[in-house]
Symmetry: C2
Subunit: 261 residues, 2 copies
Protein backbone atom coordinates (compact mmCIF):
# COMPACT_ATOMS: atom_id res chain seq x y z
CA UNK A 1 0.00 0.00 0.00
CA UNK A 2 1.47 3.32 -1.09
CA UNK A 3 0.63 6.18 1.27
CA UNK A 4 1.29 9.86 0.66
CA UNK A 5 1.86 10.79 4.29
CA UNK A 6 1.29 14.53 3.96
CA UNK A 7 -0.82 16.50 1.49
CA UNK A 8 -3.22 19.40 1.80
CA UNK A 9 -6.78 19.60 0.47
CA UNK A 10 -6.64 20.49 -3.23
CA UNK A 11 -9.44 22.06 -5.28
CA UNK A 12 -11.30 20.76 -7.11
CA UNK A 13 -11.34 17.47 -5.13
CA UNK A 14 -11.34 15.47 -8.37
CA UNK A 15 -7.91 16.92 -9.13
CA UNK A 16 -6.53 15.45 -5.88
CA UNK A 17 -7.90 12.01 -6.80
CA UNK A 18 -6.37 12.37 -10.26
CA UNK A 19 -2.94 13.33 -8.85
CA UNK A 20 -3.09 10.30 -6.53
CA UNK A 21 -3.99 8.04 -9.46
CA UNK A 22 -1.09 9.39 -11.56
CA UNK A 23 1.32 8.55 -8.73
CA UNK A 24 -0.43 5.24 -7.91
CA UNK A 25 -0.98 6.39 -4.35
CA UNK A 26 -3.56 4.25 -2.52
CA UNK A 27 -4.15 6.48 0.47
CA UNK A 28 -3.29 10.07 1.45
CA UNK A 29 -2.94 11.53 4.93
CA UNK A 30 -4.86 14.72 4.31
CA UNK A 31 -4.39 18.07 6.07
CA UNK A 32 -6.42 21.25 5.94
CA UNK A 33 -5.62 24.17 3.70
CA UNK A 34 -6.87 27.66 4.53
CA UNK A 35 -5.82 28.85 1.06
CA UNK A 36 -5.78 27.20 -2.35
CA UNK A 37 -2.66 28.25 -4.27
CA UNK A 38 -3.19 25.32 -6.65
CA UNK A 39 -6.12 27.19 -8.20
CA UNK A 40 -3.81 30.04 -9.31
CA UNK A 41 -2.96 30.21 -12.99
CA UNK A 42 -0.63 33.21 -12.89
CA UNK A 43 1.84 34.87 -10.55
CA UNK A 44 -0.81 37.51 -9.82
CA UNK A 45 -3.54 35.05 -8.81
CA UNK A 46 -1.00 33.02 -6.82
CA UNK A 47 -0.03 36.13 -4.89
CA UNK A 48 -3.71 37.02 -4.35
CA UNK A 49 -4.17 33.57 -2.78
CA UNK A 50 -1.10 34.09 -0.56
CA UNK A 51 -2.46 37.47 0.49
CA UNK A 52 -5.55 35.68 1.87
CA UNK A 53 -3.16 33.75 4.12
CA UNK A 54 -1.45 36.96 5.25
CA UNK A 55 -4.89 38.42 6.03
CA UNK A 56 -5.51 35.45 8.32
CA UNK A 57 -2.05 35.69 9.93
CA UNK A 58 -2.46 39.45 10.44
CA UNK A 59 -5.97 39.12 11.85
CA UNK A 60 -7.69 40.95 8.96
CA UNK A 61 -9.67 37.73 8.48
CA UNK A 62 -10.70 35.87 11.67
CA UNK A 63 -8.15 33.03 11.99
CA UNK A 64 -10.39 30.86 14.17
CA UNK A 65 -13.29 30.99 11.70
CA UNK A 66 -10.92 30.21 8.82
CA UNK A 67 -9.47 27.23 10.69
CA UNK A 68 -12.92 25.80 11.47
CA UNK A 69 -14.01 26.37 7.86
CA UNK A 70 -10.88 24.54 6.60
CA UNK A 71 -11.58 21.62 8.96
CA UNK A 72 -15.14 21.34 7.61
CA UNK A 73 -13.73 21.41 4.08
CA UNK A 74 -11.35 18.57 5.02
CA UNK A 75 -14.10 16.42 6.55
CA UNK A 76 -16.29 16.94 3.47
CA UNK A 77 -13.50 15.82 1.13
CA UNK A 78 -12.76 12.74 3.29
CA UNK A 79 -16.44 11.79 3.57
CA UNK A 80 -16.70 11.63 -0.22
CA UNK A 81 -13.81 9.13 -0.46
CA UNK A 82 -13.33 7.62 3.00
CA UNK A 83 -11.25 4.72 1.67
CA UNK A 84 -8.72 7.09 0.10
CA UNK A 85 -8.06 9.51 2.94
CA UNK A 86 -7.09 9.69 6.60
CA UNK A 87 -7.34 13.13 8.19
CA UNK A 88 -5.00 15.08 10.44
CA UNK A 89 -6.75 18.02 12.11
CA UNK A 90 -5.31 21.47 12.70
CA UNK A 91 -5.35 23.26 16.04
CA UNK A 92 -4.70 26.88 17.04
CA UNK A 93 -1.17 27.45 18.26
CA UNK A 94 -0.39 28.20 21.92
CA UNK A 95 -3.56 26.86 23.62
CA UNK A 96 -3.52 25.92 27.30
CA UNK A 97 -3.70 22.25 28.33
CA UNK A 98 -7.46 22.55 28.96
CA UNK A 99 -8.11 24.41 25.70
CA UNK A 100 -6.11 21.79 23.80
CA UNK A 101 -8.24 19.02 25.35
CA UNK A 102 -11.45 20.81 24.36
CA UNK A 103 -10.30 21.50 20.80
CA UNK A 104 -9.06 17.93 20.27
CA UNK A 105 -12.34 16.55 21.59
CA UNK A 106 -14.49 18.85 19.46
CA UNK A 107 -12.52 19.06 16.21
CA UNK A 108 -10.04 16.17 16.06
CA UNK A 109 -11.61 13.16 17.75
CA UNK A 110 -15.18 14.05 16.70
CA UNK A 111 -14.02 14.08 13.07
CA UNK A 112 -12.12 10.78 13.45
CA UNK A 113 -8.85 12.49 12.57
CA UNK A 114 -5.80 10.36 13.43
CA UNK A 115 -3.29 13.06 14.23
CA UNK A 116 -2.75 16.76 14.76
CA UNK A 117 -1.08 19.23 12.38
CA UNK A 118 0.30 20.94 10.47
CA UNK A 119 1.66 22.93 13.42
CA UNK A 120 3.65 25.97 12.29
CA UNK A 121 5.35 27.49 15.33
CA UNK A 122 7.32 30.70 15.03
CA UNK A 123 10.98 30.73 16.02
CA UNK A 124 11.34 30.99 19.79
CA UNK A 125 7.77 29.75 20.37
CA UNK A 126 8.37 26.00 20.72
CA UNK A 127 7.67 25.94 24.48
CA UNK A 128 4.05 26.84 23.73
CA UNK A 129 3.48 23.36 22.25
CA UNK A 130 4.25 21.60 25.54
CA UNK A 131 0.60 21.46 26.75
CA UNK A 132 -0.35 19.92 23.41
CA UNK A 133 2.06 17.01 23.98
CA UNK A 134 0.29 16.32 27.30
CA UNK A 135 -3.14 16.69 25.72
CA UNK A 136 -2.14 14.25 22.96
CA UNK A 137 -1.29 11.69 25.66
CA UNK A 138 -4.80 12.07 27.09
CA UNK A 139 -6.22 10.98 23.74
CA UNK A 140 -4.06 7.90 23.26
CA UNK A 141 -0.95 9.66 21.92
CA UNK A 142 -2.17 11.36 18.76
CA UNK A 143 0.83 12.03 16.48
CA UNK A 144 1.88 15.67 16.15
CA UNK A 145 3.05 16.95 12.74
CA UNK A 146 5.29 20.02 13.01
CA UNK A 147 6.64 22.16 10.14
CA UNK A 148 10.43 22.42 10.76
CA UNK A 149 11.56 24.33 7.66
CA UNK A 150 11.90 28.14 7.90
CA UNK A 151 11.27 30.09 10.09
CA UNK A 152 12.55 27.51 12.61
CA UNK A 153 16.28 27.41 13.34
CA UNK A 154 18.23 24.53 14.84
CA UNK A 155 17.80 25.85 18.41
CA UNK A 156 14.03 25.57 17.91
CA UNK A 157 14.35 22.05 16.54
CA UNK A 158 16.48 20.99 19.53
CA UNK A 159 13.82 22.41 21.88
CA UNK A 160 11.16 20.48 20.00
CA UNK A 161 13.17 17.26 20.30
CA UNK A 162 13.49 17.87 24.03
CA UNK A 163 9.68 17.98 24.28
CA UNK A 164 9.55 14.70 22.34
CA UNK A 165 12.02 13.21 24.81
CA UNK A 166 9.94 14.39 27.79
CA UNK A 167 6.77 12.93 26.24
CA UNK A 168 8.22 9.81 24.67
CA UNK A 169 4.86 8.13 24.07
CA UNK A 170 3.77 10.90 21.69
CA UNK A 171 4.87 10.38 18.07
CA UNK A 172 6.39 13.57 16.65
CA UNK A 173 6.70 13.96 12.87
CA UNK A 174 9.33 16.49 11.79
CA UNK A 175 7.82 18.05 8.67
CA UNK A 176 10.33 18.79 5.89
CA UNK A 177 13.17 17.03 7.71
CA UNK A 178 14.48 20.10 9.52
CA UNK A 179 14.79 22.18 6.32
CA UNK A 180 18.26 23.68 5.96
CA UNK A 181 19.11 22.09 9.33
CA UNK A 182 18.56 18.57 8.00
CA UNK A 183 22.07 17.29 8.82
CA UNK A 184 22.01 18.34 12.46
CA UNK A 185 18.42 17.13 12.71
CA UNK A 186 19.35 13.67 11.39
CA UNK A 187 22.20 13.43 13.88
CA UNK A 188 19.98 14.55 16.77
CA UNK A 189 17.00 12.23 16.30
CA UNK A 190 19.03 9.04 16.76
CA UNK A 191 18.15 8.80 20.45
CA UNK A 192 14.45 9.64 20.03
CA UNK A 193 12.57 6.62 18.64
CA UNK A 194 9.23 8.48 18.82
CA UNK A 195 10.47 11.04 16.27
CA UNK A 196 9.65 10.47 12.58
CA UNK A 197 10.93 12.21 9.47
CA UNK A 198 8.75 13.69 6.72
CA UNK A 199 10.70 14.06 3.48
CA UNK A 200 8.78 16.76 1.61
CA UNK A 201 10.17 20.14 0.54
CA UNK A 202 13.78 18.99 0.43
CA UNK A 203 15.96 21.27 -1.65
CA UNK A 204 18.74 18.66 -1.89
CA UNK A 205 18.16 14.95 -2.39
CA UNK A 206 21.16 14.30 -0.12
CA UNK A 207 18.80 14.98 2.80
CA UNK A 208 16.24 12.20 2.12
CA UNK A 209 19.05 9.95 0.90
CA UNK A 210 20.88 10.06 4.24
CA UNK A 211 17.58 10.11 6.16
CA UNK A 212 16.47 6.83 4.61
CA UNK A 213 19.90 5.21 5.00
CA UNK A 214 20.05 6.12 8.69
CA UNK A 215 16.36 5.69 9.57
CA UNK A 216 14.71 3.29 7.10
CA UNK A 217 11.90 2.64 9.59
CA UNK A 218 11.19 6.24 10.52
CA UNK A 219 11.10 8.05 7.16
CA UNK A 220 7.89 8.89 5.29
CA UNK A 221 7.28 9.60 1.62
CA UNK A 222 5.09 12.67 1.25
CA UNK A 223 4.23 15.20 -1.44
CA UNK A 224 3.09 18.21 0.58
CA UNK A 225 0.71 18.65 -2.37
CA UNK A 226 -0.07 21.14 -3.84
CA UNK A 227 3.52 22.28 -3.24
CA UNK A 228 4.83 19.21 -5.06
CA UNK A 229 2.92 16.61 -7.07
CA UNK A 230 2.61 13.11 -5.55
CA UNK A 231 4.17 11.66 -8.72
CA UNK A 232 7.25 13.87 -8.51
CA UNK A 233 7.65 13.24 -4.78
CA UNK A 234 7.35 9.48 -5.32
CA UNK A 235 9.78 9.53 -8.24
CA UNK A 236 12.39 11.34 -6.15
CA UNK A 237 12.22 8.59 -3.50
CA UNK A 238 12.19 5.78 -6.07
CA UNK A 239 15.31 7.17 -7.74
CA UNK A 240 17.10 7.30 -4.35
CA UNK A 241 16.28 3.90 -2.86
CA UNK A 242 17.64 0.67 -4.31
CA UNK A 243 16.44 -1.83 -1.67
CA UNK A 244 12.92 -3.02 -2.43
CA UNK A 245 11.96 -3.72 1.19
CA UNK A 246 13.19 -0.30 2.35
CA UNK A 247 11.27 1.32 -0.50
CA UNK A 248 8.04 -0.38 0.59
CA UNK A 249 8.51 0.82 4.14
CA UNK A 250 9.27 4.40 3.14
CA UNK A 251 6.44 4.57 0.60
CA UNK A 252 3.83 3.32 3.02
CA UNK A 253 4.86 0.69 5.54
CA UNK A 254 6.29 3.09 8.10
CA UNK A 255 3.33 5.49 8.28
CA UNK A 256 0.96 2.53 8.11
CA UNK A 257 2.58 1.00 11.21
CA UNK A 258 2.49 4.31 13.07
CA UNK A 259 -1.18 5.00 12.34
CA UNK A 260 -2.24 1.33 12.40
CA UNK A 261 -3.76 1.61 8.92
Amino acid sequence: MVIDSHAHVIFPPERQIQLMAEAEVDCTILFTSTIHPETATSLESFEAELNKLYDILNGVTNPLNERIRAIKELTTVIERNPEKYIGFGSIPFGLSYKENLEWIDKYIVANSFRGIGELTPGSGKIAEIEPLFRASQEFGNLPLWVHTFMPLNYEDIKELLLLAKMHSTVPLILGHLGGVNWLNTLKAVKEFPNVYLDMSATFTTMAPSFAITEYPERTFFSSDAPYCSPLTARTIIEQLVKDRHVMEQVLGGNISRLLKI
Copy 2:
Protein backbone atom coordinates in the same frame (compact mmCIF):
# COMPACT_ATOMS: atom_id res chain seq x y z
CA MET B 1 20.66 18.56 -27.06
CA VAL B 2 19.99 18.15 -23.36
CA ILE B 3 22.25 20.33 -21.21
CA ASP B 4 22.57 20.17 -17.43
CA SER B 5 23.29 23.86 -16.91
CA HIS B 6 24.84 23.57 -13.44
CA ALA B 7 26.70 20.72 -11.79
CA HIS B 8 29.85 20.48 -9.71
CA VAL B 9 32.80 18.16 -10.27
CA ILE B 10 31.94 14.73 -8.86
CA PHE B 11 34.43 12.04 -7.83
CA PRO B 12 35.26 9.67 -9.29
CA PRO B 13 34.86 11.35 -12.73
CA GLU B 14 33.39 8.13 -14.18
CA ARG B 15 30.48 8.53 -11.77
CA GLN B 16 29.65 11.94 -13.26
CA ILE B 17 29.62 10.47 -16.77
CA GLN B 18 27.41 7.64 -15.52
CA LEU B 19 24.93 10.05 -13.90
CA MET B 20 24.79 12.05 -17.15
CA ALA B 21 24.16 8.86 -19.14
CA GLU B 22 21.34 7.79 -16.77
CA ALA B 23 19.64 11.16 -17.34
CA GLU B 24 20.48 11.21 -21.07
CA VAL B 25 22.28 14.51 -20.62
CA ASP B 26 24.49 15.36 -23.62
CA CYS B 27 26.49 18.18 -22.07
CA THR B 28 27.04 19.57 -18.58
CA ILE B 29 28.07 23.08 -17.58
CA LEU B 30 30.62 22.11 -14.96
CA PHE B 31 31.64 24.12 -11.90
CA THR B 32 34.42 23.58 -9.38
CA SER B 33 33.96 21.83 -6.07
CA THR B 34 36.35 22.48 -3.20
CA ILE B 35 34.83 19.55 -1.28
CA HIS B 36 33.38 16.22 -2.36
CA PRO B 37 30.32 15.36 -0.25
CA GLU B 38 29.31 12.77 -2.85
CA THR B 39 32.12 10.53 -1.62
CA ALA B 40 30.56 10.33 1.86
CA THR B 41 28.84 7.09 2.77
CA SER B 42 27.62 8.05 6.24
CA LEU B 43 26.49 11.11 8.15
CA GLU B 44 29.89 11.18 9.85
CA SER B 45 31.94 11.18 6.64
CA PHE B 46 29.53 13.72 5.10
CA GLU B 47 30.10 16.02 8.06
CA ALA B 48 33.87 15.51 7.85
CA GLU B 49 33.69 16.67 4.22
CA LEU B 50 31.62 19.71 5.20
CA ASN B 51 34.16 20.52 7.91
CA LYS B 52 36.82 20.81 5.19
CA LEU B 53 34.66 23.55 3.67
CA TYR B 54 34.35 25.32 7.02
CA ASP B 55 38.15 25.12 7.38
CA ILE B 56 38.44 26.95 4.05
CA LEU B 57 35.77 29.53 4.97
CA ASN B 58 37.40 30.11 8.37
CA GLY B 59 40.90 30.40 6.92
CA VAL B 60 42.25 27.24 8.61
CA THR B 61 42.97 25.99 5.09
CA ASN B 62 44.23 28.62 2.59
CA PRO B 63 41.14 29.52 0.52
CA LEU B 64 43.12 30.79 -2.47
CA ASN B 65 45.16 27.59 -2.77
CA GLU B 66 41.99 25.51 -2.46
CA ARG B 67 40.26 27.54 -5.17
CA ILE B 68 43.21 27.18 -7.58
CA ARG B 69 43.40 23.46 -6.81
CA ALA B 70 39.67 23.06 -7.55
CA ILE B 71 40.06 24.94 -10.85
CA LYS B 72 42.89 22.57 -11.86
CA GLU B 73 40.66 19.64 -10.93
CA LEU B 74 37.90 21.08 -13.13
CA THR B 75 40.20 21.59 -16.14
CA THR B 76 41.53 18.03 -15.78
CA VAL B 77 38.01 16.59 -15.78
CA ILE B 78 37.00 18.68 -18.82
CA GLU B 79 40.17 17.78 -20.75
CA ARG B 80 39.34 14.09 -20.41
CA ASN B 81 35.90 14.58 -22.01
CA PRO B 82 35.93 17.93 -23.81
CA GLU B 83 32.81 17.08 -25.83
CA LYS B 84 30.78 16.49 -22.67
CA TYR B 85 31.65 19.54 -20.59
CA ILE B 86 31.78 23.33 -20.67
CA GLY B 87 33.45 24.96 -17.69
CA PHE B 88 32.50 27.93 -15.53
CA GLY B 89 35.41 29.16 -13.43
CA SER B 90 35.28 30.35 -9.84
CA ILE B 91 36.73 33.65 -8.63
CA PRO B 92 37.49 35.00 -5.15
CA PHE B 93 34.74 37.25 -3.84
CA GLY B 94 35.25 41.01 -3.42
CA LEU B 95 38.20 41.60 -5.80
CA SER B 96 38.85 45.07 -7.21
CA TYR B 97 38.21 45.78 -10.90
CA LYS B 98 41.91 45.29 -11.73
CA GLU B 99 42.19 42.10 -9.65
CA ASN B 100 39.08 40.73 -11.34
CA LEU B 101 40.62 41.39 -14.77
CA GLU B 102 43.83 39.62 -13.78
CA TRP B 103 42.02 36.60 -12.32
CA ILE B 104 39.69 36.26 -15.32
CA ASP B 105 42.63 36.46 -17.69
CA LYS B 106 44.71 33.93 -15.77
CA TYR B 107 42.10 31.42 -14.58
CA ILE B 108 38.93 31.87 -16.65
CA VAL B 109 39.93 32.82 -20.20
CA ALA B 110 43.19 30.82 -20.14
CA ASN B 111 41.17 27.70 -19.28
CA SER B 112 38.54 28.43 -21.97
CA PHE B 113 35.82 28.65 -19.34
CA ARG B 114 32.63 30.26 -20.67
CA GLY B 115 31.33 31.92 -17.54
CA ILE B 116 32.07 32.80 -13.93
CA GLY B 117 30.66 31.19 -10.79
CA GLU B 118 29.39 29.87 -8.53
CA LEU B 119 29.52 33.20 -6.69
CA THR B 120 28.28 32.91 -3.11
CA PRO B 121 27.98 36.38 -1.62
CA GLY B 122 27.06 36.86 2.00
CA SER B 123 23.98 38.89 2.87
CA GLY B 124 24.74 42.61 2.68
CA LYS B 125 27.79 42.03 0.46
CA ILE B 126 26.23 42.35 -3.00
CA ALA B 127 27.86 45.70 -3.79
CA GLU B 128 31.25 43.95 -3.79
CA ILE B 129 30.33 42.18 -7.04
CA GLU B 130 29.99 45.44 -8.99
CA PRO B 131 33.62 45.51 -10.26
CA LEU B 132 33.14 41.94 -11.51
CA PHE B 133 30.21 43.04 -13.71
CA ARG B 134 32.51 45.63 -15.30
CA ALA B 135 35.34 43.13 -15.67
CA SER B 136 32.97 40.67 -17.34
CA GLN B 137 32.14 43.34 -19.94
CA GLU B 138 35.84 43.69 -20.71
CA PHE B 139 35.94 40.00 -21.65
CA GLY B 140 32.91 39.99 -23.95
CA ASN B 141 30.22 39.76 -21.25
CA LEU B 142 31.01 36.49 -19.51
CA PRO B 143 27.85 35.23 -17.73
CA LEU B 144 27.88 35.44 -13.93
CA TRP B 145 26.27 32.61 -11.92
CA VAL B 146 25.22 33.72 -8.43
CA HIS B 147 23.84 31.51 -5.62
CA THR B 148 20.62 33.23 -4.46
CA PHE B 149 19.31 30.73 -1.89
CA MET B 150 20.19 31.28 1.79
CA PRO B 151 21.95 33.30 3.18
CA LEU B 152 20.66 35.94 0.71
CA ASN B 153 17.42 37.73 1.50
CA TYR B 154 15.17 39.56 -0.92
CA GLU B 155 16.92 42.91 -0.29
CA ASP B 156 20.16 41.31 -1.49
CA ILE B 157 18.45 39.89 -4.57
CA LYS B 158 16.98 43.32 -5.43
CA GLU B 159 20.46 44.84 -5.12
CA LEU B 160 21.84 42.16 -7.41
CA LEU B 161 19.12 42.85 -9.98
CA LEU B 162 20.00 46.54 -9.85
CA LEU B 163 23.58 45.63 -10.78
CA ALA B 164 22.23 43.57 -13.68
CA LYS B 165 20.17 46.56 -14.79
CA MET B 166 23.22 48.86 -14.64
CA HIS B 167 25.28 46.34 -16.66
CA SER B 168 22.61 45.12 -19.02
CA THR B 169 25.03 43.45 -21.44
CA VAL B 170 26.21 41.00 -18.76
CA PRO B 171 24.08 37.85 -18.44
CA LEU B 172 23.25 37.14 -14.81
CA ILE B 173 22.08 33.66 -13.81
CA LEU B 174 20.14 33.55 -10.54
CA GLY B 175 21.14 30.22 -9.03
CA HIS B 176 18.33 28.36 -7.25
CA LEU B 177 15.68 30.83 -8.43
CA GLY B 178 15.88 33.13 -5.39
CA GLY B 179 15.36 30.30 -2.88
CA VAL B 180 12.53 31.07 -0.48
CA ASN B 181 12.18 34.44 -2.24
CA TRP B 182 11.28 32.81 -5.55
CA LEU B 183 7.90 34.54 -5.94
CA ASN B 184 9.25 38.07 -5.47
CA THR B 185 12.23 37.18 -7.63
CA LEU B 186 10.01 35.98 -10.48
CA LYS B 187 7.98 39.19 -10.30
CA ALA B 188 11.11 41.35 -10.25
CA VAL B 189 13.03 39.88 -13.19
CA LYS B 190 10.35 40.72 -15.75
CA GLU B 191 12.07 43.96 -16.73
CA PHE B 192 15.60 42.52 -16.89
CA PRO B 193 16.06 40.45 -20.06
CA ASN B 194 19.72 39.74 -19.20
CA VAL B 195 18.67 37.83 -16.07
CA TYR B 196 18.26 34.04 -16.30
CA LEU B 197 16.77 31.56 -13.86
CA ASP B 198 18.48 28.38 -12.64
CA MET B 199 15.94 25.89 -11.31
CA SER B 200 18.00 23.70 -8.98
CA ALA B 201 17.45 23.30 -5.24
CA THR B 202 13.78 24.21 -5.35
CA PHE B 203 11.89 22.98 -2.31
CA THR B 204 8.50 23.44 -4.01
CA THR B 205 7.79 22.58 -7.63
CA MET B 206 5.46 25.59 -7.76
CA ALA B 207 8.60 27.71 -8.16
CA PRO B 208 9.94 26.14 -11.39
CA SER B 209 6.37 25.68 -12.61
CA PHE B 210 5.62 29.41 -12.50
CA ALA B 211 9.17 30.27 -13.61
CA ILE B 212 8.80 28.26 -16.82
CA THR B 213 5.28 29.56 -17.49
CA GLU B 214 6.40 33.18 -17.11
CA TYR B 215 9.88 32.88 -18.62
CA PRO B 216 10.02 29.90 -21.01
CA GLU B 217 13.07 31.41 -22.74
CA ARG B 218 15.05 32.29 -19.62
CA THR B 219 14.76 29.17 -17.44
CA PHE B 220 17.46 26.49 -17.24
CA PHE B 221 17.24 22.85 -16.21
CA SER B 222 20.08 22.02 -13.81
CA SER B 223 20.90 19.35 -11.27
CA ASP B 224 23.37 21.12 -8.98
CA ALA B 225 24.90 17.62 -8.77
CA PRO B 226 25.96 16.12 -6.41
CA TYR B 227 23.17 17.85 -4.44
CA CYS B 228 20.56 16.32 -6.77
CA SER B 229 21.02 13.68 -9.46
CA PRO B 230 20.66 14.84 -13.09
CA LEU B 231 17.96 12.20 -13.61
CA THR B 232 15.84 13.43 -10.71
CA ALA B 233 16.28 17.07 -11.72
CA ARG B 234 15.30 16.25 -15.32
CA THR B 235 12.30 14.19 -14.20
CA ILE B 236 11.00 17.07 -12.08
CA ILE B 237 11.05 19.38 -15.13
CA GLU B 238 9.55 16.74 -17.43
CA GLN B 239 6.66 16.17 -15.03
CA LEU B 240 5.98 19.93 -14.93
CA VAL B 241 6.12 20.90 -18.60
CA LYS B 242 3.52 19.74 -21.11
CA ASP B 243 4.58 21.75 -24.18
CA ARG B 244 7.27 19.90 -26.14
CA HIS B 245 8.89 23.03 -27.58
CA VAL B 246 9.09 24.70 -24.17
CA MET B 247 10.57 21.51 -22.73
CA GLU B 248 13.33 21.48 -25.37
CA GLN B 249 14.18 25.10 -24.61
CA VAL B 250 14.29 24.58 -20.86
CA LEU B 251 16.25 21.32 -21.09
CA GLY B 252 18.94 22.80 -23.30
CA GLY B 253 17.86 25.35 -25.91
CA ASN B 254 17.95 28.35 -23.61
CA ILE B 255 21.42 27.79 -22.14
CA SER B 256 22.68 26.74 -25.57
CA ARG B 257 21.56 30.08 -27.03
CA LEU B 258 23.13 32.02 -24.16
CA LEU B 259 26.50 30.27 -24.39
CA LYS B 260 26.40 29.80 -28.18
CA ILE B 261 26.94 26.05 -27.81
